[in-house]
Assembly symmetry: C2
Homo-oligomer: 187 residues x 2
């Protein structure tokens, strides 16, 4: 059996109630039976999934600054975005990179697919390494306001100290990049 289907300590669904269906997320509350037979409720966010890109140009990483309403402040992050319906993660990574930074990637490699908040959300982010980049024109969505820059590893660490960079995927990308520099291995 592939581990990914492991059901150890499974919580069996007794009922599912959809509470909210939004433009991006759906919220449901499940009643579940625990391994000891007791009943508990689980609040679950459904999300379409997303991509993120560690894009390296001349030994610098491309990042975009944007306002994050849930945090009520702006942050510097690697290029990222939700999957469109039916869109493959690799396509989405190429699209988001081009839209947010203007760069086209000559090569893309999956670093990792990971869940962001497995306690309450099913969101998966597929993170890619993009290299051999070719500069074009950025074309963000109409309601997307962001600013792109390229930073060195030392600058990325400085940004982490200052909490300009402070989200999981971007910190993970900086760590992966540092390991790539130290060992030649990614992911």
């Amino acid at each position: 059996m592939h581990y990914k289907s492991s059901k150890k300590f499974e919580e069996t669904t007794i009922s599912t109630q959809e509470v909210f269906q939004g433009k991006i997320i759906t919220l449901q509350v499940d009643q579940v039976q625990l391994p000891n037979g007791q009943i508990a409720s689980r609040e679950i966010i459904r999300h379409p999934g997303a991509v993120a890109v560690l894009a390296l140009v001349d030994n610098k990483m491309l990042v975009v600054e944007q306002y994050r309403k849930p945090l009520e402040r702006s942050q510097v992050e690697i290029p990222a975005g939700k999957l469109d319906p039916g869109e493959a993660p690799l396509e989405a990574a190429l699209r988001e990179l081009a839209e947010e930074t203007g760069y086209r990637a000559g090569s893309l490699k999956l670093i990792s697919s990971f869940s962001t908040s497995p306690g309450f959300a099913d969101e998966i982010i597929h993170m890619y390494l993009a290299e051999n980049l070719i500069k074009g024109e950025a074309a963000p969505d109409e309601d997307e306001f962001l600013e792109c820059e390229a930073i060195t590893l030392d600058e990325a660490k400085q940004y982490m100290q200052e909490q300009r960079i402070s989200d999981a995927k971007t910190i993970m990308a900086v760590y992966a990049w540092q390991i790539y520099q130290l060992t030649g291995q990614i992911g």
Copy 2:
């Protein structure tokens, strides 16, 4: 100005509607004004925040396997849990480590505080390095079913390949641990 309060590209709140208040998360929908004057809606999950612990014993990392209902499968993760009301992150890290693994930490150091899903949630995880551990008895919550083990860095990478480990905070911890081994620096 400290960067953490940066309001670049700010989205001004016009109205906030609370849609759902659960045991763990709250969902609200905000109407916001974008920098170009247009109106957009933002679906926002409020979360109490959490802690996670990279706990090292004899050059092994403590991990716990548990079922994650949003993913409908079990996963291996570093010890973690939500902040109790009014609880300081450092206390919560000590508490969760002890509850889930039985270990008491002789020293704790903050590696990073990061947002998990800044596009739709305000959840912050405070991740600590725990060393000088003393073995005691695990005492998980009554409705918490998990199994603790200690794994080497090579095993952790193997688990990542197999997607036994596949959540952001645990992958971040493995990367941070590898950098710690390579450079002596953490976070």
